[in-house]
Amino acid sequence: MAGIFEEIEMRIPAPAGKILGKQACFDFGGWDAEGIKGAICISFGTGWVAVERGRVIAAFYEDSQEQLFGIDALSRLCQSSISAELYECDGRLLETLVRIFPEISIKRSYRDLMLEIRSLDLIDTIVGPKFVEPAASIPSGAVSQESEVGLVDEHDNGRVANLEEYLSKIGDFTGIVEASDGGLNFSFWVREGKIVAALMDDGGIKVGGNSVLYFCGIPAKVRRSPWQDPPPEARCSENEKEVRALLASLETV
């Protein structure tokens, strides 16, 4: 992509083809997306939006603090008046990106989305931060965890039909979930509902990290215990380089 943002490499690259123009202060609200023929990609320094015939197909936002996907990304980009570059959209690349990063997908009318985003802005203005309950007064994951620590889970005497599903609905729990189906033993380190580390042992093989999450779609007996730091080999993380390599290899398919 040859443009003013070319020096910034985003995790999910903009599906940008031929450049159409630049705008010093892009205004989402005033932009006539309905009048666009074909697909275009609006690229900003911190993200991009792909629009096709009045429909927003996908969006991505990234800064040094966070990455946002889909509608969240679009909302963030809408909050600031920023310079933009307009490109023809590379449909094939966009399709590949949506396949690999389905979280960027939106596929909704631009007009409806703008209305929705403006409504949210309005609510924020009316309610304001003073009406938001202070975090300290809300029961935290740590408090609710305390009553459950050391106890067999409440699901049918600790038995769950699908361990993977159980973990996906664990709420804001922080601690360790130990699970067993009699032969396989699992340990999951969960921080505020997110699995940050995992181990599996079937007596013959031991697996740690992201891989364990592929094996846990089984019925099991579960038990929660307090947080302890996981061993390094258990840590779950998605390798950025592998995602990029996968993306590159699919572009040739």
Partner: protein
Amino acid sequence: MRRSVAVVSGKGGTGKSFVTCNTAIVLAGAGFKTLIVDADTTMASVEIIYGITPQKTLQDLVSGEAKPEEVLYSGPNGVLIVPSGARLKRRIRPSELDAAIASVLEVAAPDFLLIDAPAGLDAEVLTAVMMTEAHLVVCNPEITSLADAYKVKSVLSGRSRYLGAVLNKIGRIELSKFRVANLIGPILAAIPEDARVRDSINCGTPYVLKYPESMVTKQILRVAGAIAGVDLYLKKETRWPGFLRRSK
């Protein structure tokens, strides 16, 4: 016949034959009459995994030197096997493969037919897929294998129903399940890397019979369950043969 499934892969070495052979044993152990045809005439390995030494093979059937009943062998749990023949006499044409399998099906009348197809996307693979009502892809968690699996899935779509992918030899995988499933899903099973797999092949005793309680066997049960359309599980009170049964 309840269902026929072709087991395919992008490249060789993904463990396709291992998955096919062990899945067939599980289905047979659950009481289903199961026939496995080794259609990989260039890299036949079904007979090696089952530890049998066939006199007549698919290649003899195709060349008219054997009758269908002469190339049918009984394996563990009563699974019926049509071996390809480890020594390649000549490459089998798709029409010959089609006719040969049809003649065996008439004799065997199985509940389930599993075709262990060659790797890649040659005419034999397309024939195997078009002869069956569904297919599944076996791949490894490496980027190249995932891209291959995606390619195979795309090319074969529309030729028969795509059951899903079996991720085999999972060691340390650094892509999330969500991302991989979105690409080649549904993921029917995720089989961990296990040194005992090689041992079982080397000694000619199928893995699911040797290590019925292992994670690998549990994942093979999932593959068999997806094919049969029922939950399958280990019947602990009896030993081989027939150590599996259907769920209620």
